[in-house]
């Protein structure tokens, strides 16, 4: 029979580092998926996930077992991703005139017939990635958690450690930032 998370954690805390391995194997797919929401390059994604596991190991003593280990780990993952976004604020003055051909075609189709444009297209996914990369770190995090992952304000507050009010304020600002980016996209492409 497989040991439970609580048993593995207890063993790690007693000094059996090898018991940490099954936890890494079990939860790494979720941590990788979260990290890939915030970083594009695979080397950056791996750095984030390594950092998450290093922090998890270091702070394992503070895990009280009241909530599932996965929730605790995902909080660490989201906060590490936020730290990464803040540390890697890229040049956010990129022009949308450098869109790739598929992205440009998708936009043309959208302008021609907004209702029939395919939202499953890879080009649309790339375009939203490009727009998210232009947002500030808090705006990107809030948009990703709220609009893309569909989390509630309360869930975001728990994940990020921000107050509910702060999440609401940041969500409001994030939507305004997003709006500006879309306006810039329309201006660069069609005006």
């Amino acid at each position: 029979m497989q040991p439970t998370d609580a048993e593995l954690i207890a063993a790690v805390l007693k000094g059996d580092t090898a018991s940490f391995e099954p936890l890494i194997a079990k939860y790494s797919p979720r941590v990788f998926a979260t990290a890939r929401r915030h970083a594009r390059r695979e080397s950056e994604v791996e750095d984030i996930v390594q950092e998450v596991w290093a922090k998890a190991f270091q702070k394992l003593g503070s895990f009280r077992g009241e909530a599932p280990f996965e929730h605790w780990l995902m909080r660490l993952a989201v906060r590490t991703c936020y730290d990464f976004l803040r540390a890697h604020q890229r040049n956010r003055e990129i022009s949308f005139s450098e869109l790739s051909e598929p992205e440009s075609d998708w936009l043309d189709h959208f302008v021609a017939d907004p209702d029939r444009s395919d939202e499953n297209a890879t080009a649309a996914g790339q375009l939203i990635e490009r727009i998210l990369a232009l947002l500030s770190a808090p705006a990107r995090l809030v948009i990703t958690l709220q609009e893309i992952e569909g989390r509630s304000v309360k869930e975001i507050a728990e994940l990020t450690g921000w107050s509910v009010t702060l999440v609401k304020v940041r969500a409001f600002r994030a939507r305004a930032e997003m709006r500006k980016c879309l306006q810039k996209l329309a201006r660069d492409k069609y005006w």
Partner: protein, 101 residues
């Protein structure tokens, strides 16, 4: 261009294209190796930090004692200078002997 609709479409696109949850080969082994290396480093850095803290405390005590010794708190209340005090202290027993005679 309808920006509201575009925003909705783009969010829907992001939801429709979730990121991969693929984990690189033997990733957990790599993490464990890194954690083991970090533990050795941690032990060394803890020793280093403890020694630095000890050194800082010693410097602080030295500075405090220096300040105290140069300040007016430890001056003799009699107003005599150090050489006279020393002489009195050393010859105190001799004075007692003289008085007894």
């Amino acid at each position: 261009m309808n920006l509201d609709k575009l925003q909705k479409k783009l969010f829907a696109a992001a939801r429709a294209n979730p990121p991969s949850d693929r984990v690189p080969y033997a990733f957990e082994k790599r993490i464990l190796a890194r954690l083991a290396a970090r533990r050795v480093e941690d032990a060394r850095s803890q020793w280093g930090a403890a020694l630095w803290r000890g050194a800082a405390a010693c410097v602080a005590v030295t500075v405090l004692l220096s300040v105290w010794s140069f300040s007016g708190f430890n001056r003799p209340r009699s107003g005599a200078n150090l050489s006279q005090d020393l002489e009195h202290t050393l010859l105190a027993s001799a004075d007692e002997v003289d008085n007894n005679w």
